[in-house]
Amino acid sequence: MSESDNILEMRGITKEFPGVKALDNVNFVVRRGSIHALVGENGAGKSTLMNVLSGLYPYGSYTGDIVYEGEVCKFFKIKDSEEKGIVIIHQELALVPYMTIGENMFLGNERGKKFAIDWDKTHAEATKYLKIVGLTDSSKTLIKDIGVGKQQMVEIAKALAKNARLLILDEPTSSLNEADSKALLDLLLEFKKQGLTSIIISHKINEVSYVADDITIIRDGKTIETLVKGVDDLSEERIIRGMVGREIEDRFPKRYGVSIGEPALEVEDWNVYHPIYAEKKVIDHVSFHVNKGEVVGFAGLMGAGRTELAMSIFGRSYGRDISGKIRIHGKEVTLHSPRQAIDAGLAYVTEDRKGSGLILTNPITINTTLANMKGVSNRGVIDRDKELSVAEKYRQKLNTKTPSVRQNVGKLSGGNQQKVLLSKWMYADPDILILDEPTRGIDVGAKYEIYCIINDLVAEGKSVIMISSEMPEVLGMCDRIYVLAEGRIVGEFGREEASQEKIMASILSVDLAEKEKEI
């Protein structure tokens, strides 16, 4: 063989963000014509590694070498890597809903002359690629009119139209149902026969063991190991062990003398449907309860429905056709708007602090008091001195680092924004706080501080629901853990009995059951 066996070698890649080492000397080798899976927990660094490869993080912003087709490559932008045939398909689909399949497929890669798009050629080629991925729809169909599964296929066809030789799929099946996922994975196997190399990032271990030839496990920004089909054991247990094989260090402050009381929030037989795809059930007969003084965790993979559950409870801010009962302190309530939920003593601290948590154009003072303006105002007039002292009080209490509380929150770092978000809800003085990914994207020191705040809250007799994708955090902080998968509660563990393996196993058993049902 004249060419090297490896289509891609990434050597010693290190990538740092302010305060975080996202990748630490990562080595990653992909054999030509194989399907290589990249697995790891959320935040392990998989997407970062692929962004380095695609040139989204330009050459020079990381250290290490990318050797592709035997030559060292320096990609400064995505276009550079695409020219070499490296095409990445992101988890979030990048299609324009009101354009046709054909238009989308050749967006930025138009067929025809410089100033005149050749629509006949566009649609002829689109039809050709659609056929390859097994779609029979006309290339003139609007994207919004086809389902998510087909949209994902269009993404792949789009990648093929760019003459892809190395296809990277980031969580390609996360928004697909089982049948569509299977079709997609089979398509990848078909491509493999024709010599196309692909890298697949996935949380779904069963899918990984189904398609992958090689599996590289990344944990905390480091390559842990690469497993090869036929040489190593590729069972799901083996992969999970590699993914979570970390000891829980003493990273969590201890809680002392917090007594757990009677139920504060009870949710019974909760059902929620998707706001757009009305037939899709997002939350399926979920019942749970949280006691006074208790921290309850919700574990699960991305897309398991945890955020949707929380938001639908918080004044129906998500979903449609919601049914079920909510009892707060034993009394049944109906919550139709976030305002009613807040008045009933609930608070939802969002995972999306920029999009639906803070007003970035406003200063810390205003953001701190916005959910409880009554507290700092008299007959509609704000007492600005009181507002300032409230903001200052929470700044000190939470140790928010800022030059001034009059600073716009848009200028703060992620951890400090998170603290402002928390102070806002703490000032609203709820009984039950739902914290959705409270430590996402913030450094270890700030994490510890947020854990301490959580402990203080339950010590005051409040209840905390903690949604987190970081399993050690859930295990370290929660008195009780519910496991959610596919919108259903698939497990409940007390603090003593819970372990990463048990949680992962209960998530996967659902996936497996679904799979078997289908086969």
């Binding site: 801010s317 807040i342 999009g355 803070l358 007003i359 200063p363 205003i366 916005l370 030059p403």
Partner: protein, 361 residues
């Protein structure tokens, strides 16, 4: 000693915000421009009366710009403001000169003096403004129709109604105008005329109303809960919703305020001109949007302040005054020069802001 330390640290921790900086820049450039006008063209600009004339002529613009600033802060837009102003002015004048039968009959049956027509006109102004605010606000906030299209329809409707009321220009009777156009004379700001007699500076009542409104809106935006809601909804509607603010009501209120202010602006306009005409306050909505933007309000919402808007109006109208006094007679040269100066102003603002951000990083 402790207290002193705290004091110093607090002063140290208060950096000037972008909004404050932008406001300062606007005011500074305005002052520089005005001083330059005095130095270069002298004449009219030397007299304080020039500034008062600018204020007298543009009091209505100040008021509609205030309303528009509120609406723009919530991330919406209202282009019917000048149309409503003109409609109110026409209605008012027709009430004053007795060509509105309903009000004439009402006045006769109650046995009131002619001066009572002023009260009718004022009430009618508020009513028209309120109605526009209510309807447009409801359609925009509760039925979630694009504000641009709703208020465009509102503008057409208002302009059309003026012509239905009267095709010909209407004039208010002189006796009532004398009451309405009573001016506040400020002796110490007076300047001598050709014969050396000191003529006091004159300011119209409308200017006082406009300044009062600026102060009221300023307090509302800065100190009241509803003001906070405007900024929050404009800054991030999703966040505002998730923290329990009534987003629809907030947007509705913004348009309601804007409508009422347009009504008041119409009355002030009528006080100033004493005439009703289909072309009244032409392009007033564009001037109001421009003034708000000069004053630092963002079209995307969430950012803005009404003091800036006030100086925005002053800047815009001073530019126009400069162009007129500088001897450009042709209207097209006037527009071209006004446009160019406006561009220059905005450019200066952006350059200063950009330099500041660059220095920071």
């Amino acid at each position: 000693m402790d207290e002193k330390g705290l004091d110093i640290s607090r002063r140290h921790r208060e950096p000037i915000t972008d909004t404050q900086l932008l406001l300062t820049i606007t005011i500074c450039i305005f002052v520089c421009m005005y001083v330059a006008a005095i130095l270069i063209w002298g004449g009219g600009f030397k007299k304080p009366q020039m500034l008062f004339d600018i204020l007298n002529d543009n009091a209505y613009l100040v008021i509609i710009s205030c309303g528009l600033t509120i609406v723009m802060i919530t991330g919406s837009i209202d282009i019917s403001v000048a149309g409503v102003t003109a409609l109110v002015a026409m209605t008012g004048v027709m009430i004053l000169n007795g060509s509105m039968p309903f009000f004439s009959v009402l006045q006769a049956s109650l046995g009131l003096a002619d001066s009572s027509r002023i009260v009718f006109a004022a009430l009618m102004a508020l009513l028209i403004g309120l109605l526009f605010g209510l309807v447009q606000g409801y359609l925009i906030a509760y039925l979630e129709i694009q504000p641009f299209i709703i208020t465009l329809a509102g503008m057409f409707f208002a302009r059309g109604m003026i012509t239905i009321l009267s095709v010909d220009p209407q004039k208010a009777p002189q006796a009532l105008l004398d009451i309405l156009q009573k001016r506040i004379e400020i002796n110490w700001l007076g300047s001598p005329n050709k014969n050396g007699v000191i003529i006091p500076a004159r300011m119209e009542v409308g200017v006082v109303i406009a300044i009062l409104i600026v102060i009221l809106v300023f307090c509302m935006l800065r100190k009241m809960r509803i003001g906070r809601s405007f900024y929050a909804v404009g800054g991030n509607r999703q966040s505002a919703l998730m923290l329990g603010l009534n987003v629809r009501k907030t947007r509705f209120m913004a348009h309601l305020f804007c409508g009422i202010l347009s009504g008041i602006a119409g009355f002030v306009f009528m006080m100033h001109t004493g005439a009703g005409n289909a072309t009244n306050a032409t392009a007033g909505e564009m001037n109001a949007i421009a003034s708000s933007i000069i004053g630092g309000t963002l079209l995307t919402g969430g950012v803005g302040n009404v003091i800036g808007t006030f100086f925005g109006v002053l800047t815009l109208s001073t530019i126009k005054a400069i162009v007129t006094t500088s001897g450009l007679r042709d209207p097209w040269w006037q527009s071209i020069t006004t446009g160019a100066m406006l561009c220059l102003f905005i450019l200066l603002q952006s350059v200063i802001l950009m330099r500041r951000h660059r220095n920071k990083h």
